[in-house]
């Protein structure tokens, strides 16, 4: 065998071939590789061998090893899942994976618009398609996730208004809330705004009472974390306008084929996540944060992200691309004066969402919204018929997600979920820890992928468990 301890020629390391090493050392004028590390003081050199598992250099063994571990996971292909809250199992058109699996896109990085024209075009198209969907003029190359997009929206609001306080709706995702808090601390002060306990809608009086000249903006989500559709966007907008504060709205873009866009009820900054637009869930590993605004220069220059612009070249009818306001805005172009920072984020997912939106078109987005609406309302209804359950808990319109109130059942959501799991169902997300004020409640999510029989199955099992 040719793998011996002192003779390790690895398929990933061509020049591990000893004869080649020799030739190269000769060119360099060094006796051995160790000599190349001469600047690293001996005291800093690692003397021992790193204690790592034995290498699985055979690809087959590697595959078998990893798959054996992965088989301990139970995917939601195997169970029926009603989990959502910002990440959900939407249908991923096969072409989305075809494109993001293309070696060219998968392994490109930071080339120039001259060699990576396709990457620039695809991301420009992503920006443009998202801009249509959320009905704004400017959208960024996607950042990490919705939480980051919301955090940056707050920081943009601060820089635009030069005020240091952000109001945030209480009914946003608890994960996002934690990210925003860390990201804004200690530069921005954060205060939460209450919701009506009956309807789940924003408590306008509370909002009003908290508006003052420190307030840079108010961030809320629509639909809210609880799937409730906020219908007073325009009222909120005029409250904010009167206070010269910005309206920042987070939203799930898969709702926007059918739901009014935040920009059309007054949002100054719209943000959210593209996970629902053609990305698998990947245990929460496939997310991308979008930020959209008008083309107001005061806004554009506050984006930290890359913004790809279209242009012409010196050849007739040829498109070119490049970075807009790169030197002024970005930390790449302006280390000390750049806005926040820019770096590797979620480009491949942005391209994927561009494919998704191109395939769906306006009709597809309308239809998928309608299907989700119908299926989720069917679930709301059917669960609502079960004795002692209140569904939806909040008396308002819902999209995709809704809260079911289990307080009257005398049972804990956690134990109900355990029982459901035995029936190969992941029930709704238990809200009792993050929102203790709701007692025993759970957040259910329905997408276009659920079938009627999935929902009936849930309802049947809930009935059995609660009877």
């Amino acid at each position: 065998m040719s793998i011996k301890t002192n003779y390790f020629i690895h398929p990933y390391i061509p020049n591990s071939v000893p004869e080649v090493k020799e030739q190269m050392l000769k060119e360099i004028g060094a006796k051995n590789i160790d000599e190349l590390y001469q600047d690293i003081p001996n005291s800093l050199r690692l003397k021992k061998k790193m204690n790592l598992p034995e290498a699985l250099v055979s690809e087959m063994e590697l595959k078998q090893h990893v798959e054996k571990i992965l088989n301990k996971n139970i995917s939601i292909n195997e169970y029926i899942s009603f989990l959502g809250g910002g990440c959900a199992a939407h249908y991923v058109p096969s072409i989305c994976d075809e494109i993001n699996g293309r070696s060219e896109f998968l392994t490109a990085y930071a080339g120039e618009p001259y060699e990576d024209h396709g990457r620039f075009q695809a991301l420009f198209e992503y920006q443009s398609l998202m801009a249509e969907l959320i009905d704004v003029d400017v959208v960024n190359v996607p950042t990490f996730d919705w939480a980051q997009a919301a955090s940056t929206s707050c920081r943009m609001a601060q820089r635009i208004t030069k005020r240091n306080k952000i109001l945030i709706s209480k009914f946003i995702s608890p994960e996002r809330m934690m990210v925003i808090k860390n990201y804004c601390h200690p530069v921005l002060e954060i205060e939460t705004v209450e919701h009506n306990n009956e309807t789940g809608l924003i408590d306008l009086r509370d909002l009003k009472s908290k508006l003052n000249s420190d307030v840079a903006g108010f961030y809320f989500e629509n639909p809210s974390y609880f799937g409730v559709i906020e219908e007073h966007g325009k009222k909120i907008s005029s409250l904010l306008k009167n206070n010269k504060s910005l309206m920042l709205v987070g939203c799930d873009p898969i709702s926007l084929g059918i739901l009014e866009t935040p920009s059309n009820y007054g949002a100054d900054i719209t943000c959210g996540d593209i996970q629902s637009l053609g990305l698998h869930m990947f245990y929460g590993g496939a997310t991308g944060g979008f930020i959209g605004t008008s083309d107001n220069v005061e806004f554009v220059k506050e984006y930290p992200s890359r913004l790809f612009g279209i242009s012409k070249t010196n050849v007739e009818d040829e498109w070119g691309f490049g970075d807009v306001l790169y030197d002024e805005r970005t930390s790449f172009g302006n280390r000390e004066g750049g806005k926040e920072f820019v770096g590797t984020a979620s480009a491949l997912w942005g391209i994927t969402s561009a494919v998704y939106l191109s395939l769906m078109g306006p009709k597809g987005m309308y239809e998928v919204g309608q299907t989700i609406l119908q299926k989720s309302h069917y679930a709301i209804n059917e669960i609502g018929k079960i004795k002692n359950l209140y569904s939806p808990k909040f008396n308002a319109s819902n999209f995709k997600e809704f809260v079911v109130d289990f307080n009257n059942t005398g049972k804990k959501v956690s134990s109900i979920n355990n029982l459901l799991q035995k029936k190969k169902i992941y029930g709704g997300k238990d809200l009792s820890k993050d929102f203790p004020e709701l007692g025993q409640s759970a957040l259910f999510c329905i997408t276009e992928q659920h079938t009627k029989s999935d929902i009936d199955n849930l309802v049947d099992n809930l009935k059995k468990i609660l009877s």
Partner: protein, 519 residues
């Protein structure tokens, strides 16, 4: 030298002259149909729209293009061919980016439904495989860095820097020193995010410039800047110059003496795996970009992960949840005393973690060290060859070895011929190559940065060098051909006036139509 394996290619990039997707719109064409609700459901709940508040029904349909399926596919396939991925070229010209082989087996593994179809809210028991992989990668990186705990929450290197700054801040808040310690020190050849991500947390960031001789951060400046106001230092080593700073331990000692936290930017640790570690260099935290050193694909700029390691005393500040093993099973620990909270909504970018895990497993301890050895060998081979090219030089530390990359300069070429780094960059595109200048500011004049990693053969390195020498010769004999490049790429000289002028810039197709078509 011009053997068949390192020949200068007669290259031309694929050029489809492809339209913008909006230009392909044909009203009523369909790309795909989403499923409809079952008839029984429609019977019960109606069309769904009636459930919406009137004013919340979208009035104007989004102006997305309507394009049939094959045409959408064709469009993006063509764009893919317009993109020079690392799988296609000898991608050593994107210095600092650690472009290496991203094994296809790892892609395959990560497209398993046991990976793609997991929800982040799933019960711990149903994701034991995922948690095991995350935790074991933690164990591996502890061994590689010498530090005590890793978190994989930061979704990039910059986010890891932000996280380090957050931990530093929290640490001093708990100590009650947050008001005093409001400064951070970094160096000019560190990554820009070491400056800017720290600044996001409100820190005043001080910058140490390099010593013009050694290229290393100037020790005297360091000593001057460091004080009891210093919360932390953020430093890369080797910096973008590829020179290992032998004084690194002096710096961390100095920082510690002043009560500061030492944060190591090891986004790119490719040259030192198994050679030297954060621990021995005296760092309290470090991070690795899994999408660099650990081989996960760059994806045009993400998804990514900045794996962040800390020493024991900083465990209590880690973001939640932390993935741990309780002796029986893997858990998501949310009970961390002084946690900074979260820096990303979900626990980690799982496919990235998985690929990094698989990559390490295929190499083992020896393999990782071989990665470093060969990355350094390749780099010094290039150094030897490139400094022989007319017009090129490697500023600083003359005669010394470099670690994994080098920041070179075309200053002489420029003075002699007028040809700039940018010109050479565009001409390199004609041979199917990237060539990157450097991060601003251009301390090194007419800079270019090359990092070969372990992934390319000697023949491929020779091919790249051949192209550089050829272009240098062109610059001296026929500079116009260089200045007018690219000639064989998908696109030609771009009009830059559209990027900084608000009346022209078009960040979206609709802005293009408004600003340029209406006229």
């Amino acid at each position: 030298m011009n053997n068949i394996k390192s020949k200068l290619r007669k290259f031309h990039q694929a050029k489809w002259d492809e339209q913008i997707i909006f230009e392909l719109n044909t009203p009523n064409e369909r790309g795909i149909y989403p499923p409809k609700a079952e008839k029984e459901i429609t019977k019960i709940v109606g069309n769904g729209i009636s459930k919406l508040p009137r004013n919340m029904i979208r009035k104007k349909k989004p102006e997305l293009p309507e394009v049939s399926q094959m045409r959408v596919l064709k469009h993006f396939l063509r764009l893919s061919q317009h993109t020079l991925g690392a799988d296609f070229n000898i991608d050593i010209g994107q210095g600092t980016c650690t472009i290496k082989y991203n094994p296809k087996i790892n892609e395959l593994i990560s497209r398993n439904p046991k990976v793609t179809e997991l929800h982040p809210y799933q019960d711990e028991n149903s994701v034991q495989g995922a948690l095991e992989i995350i935790f074991k990668l933690d164990l591996f990186l502890r061994e590689i860095s010498g530090l005590d705990h890793f978190t994989f929450q930061p979704p990039s290197g910059s986010a890891a820097i932000l996280t380090m700054a957050s931990i530093v801040q929290k640490y001093f808040e708990v100590k009650g020193e947050e008001q005093i310690r409001d400064e951070v020190i970094t160096t000019i050849f560190s990554h820009p995010s070491d400056y800017s991500a720290a600044a996001v947390k409100g820190y005043k960031v001080k910058m140490v410039y390099n010593n013009p001789q050694t290229g290393l951060p100037d020790m005297e400046s360091f000593k001057k800047l460091i004080s009891n106001k210093t919360a932390a230092i953020f430093i890369t080593n080797p910096e973008d110059t590829g020179i290992f700073n032998p004084e690194i331990k002096l710096i961390t000692d100095l920082a510690h003496k002043n009560g500061a936290i030492c944060c190591y930017d090891q986004a790119n640790a490719n040259g030192i795996l198994g050679i030297t570690r954060a621990k021995e260099a005296g760092f309290d935290m470090c991070f690795f970009n899994l999408h660099k050193t650990f081989s996960t694909p760059h994806g045009c700029g993400g998804p990514a992960t900045g794996a962040l390691g800390v020493v024991k005393k900083l465990y209590n500040y880690l973001p939640i949840p932390n993935i741990e093993y309780n002796g029986k099973k893997y858990i998501l620990n949310n009970k961390i005393k002084h946690t900074i909270g979260k820096v990303r909504a979900y626990p980690t970018v799982f496919p990235v973690v998985l690929k990094a895990y698989a990559w390490i497993m295929s190499l083992g301890s020896e393999g990782l060290k071989e990665v470093a050895n060969i990355a350094v060998l390749n780099n010094n081979y290039l150094l030897s060859k490139i400094t022989k090219i007319k017009g090129a030089s490697a500023p600083y530390a003359k005669g010394k070895r470099r670690i994994e990359q080098v920041r070179y300069s075309w200053e002489k070429l420029h003075l002699d011929t007028g040809v700039t780094t940018e010109d050479v960059t565009l001409r390199m595109a004609d041979f199917g190559f990237h060539l990157w200048s450097s991060h601003h500011p251009f301390i090194v004049k007419q800079p270019f940065t090359i990092e070969p990693t372990e992934a390319y053969s000697k023949d491929e390195l020779d091919e790249y060098i051949n192209a550089l020498s050829y272009i240098s010769k062109e610059a001296y004999s026929n500079p116009d051909i260089v200045k007018l490049a690219p000639h064989n790429s998908v696109v030609h000289k771009i009009d830059h006036s559209w990027f900084d002028d608000p009346t022209k810039w078009s960040i979206t197709w609709r802005l293009y139509k408004k600003k340029h078509l209406k006229k």
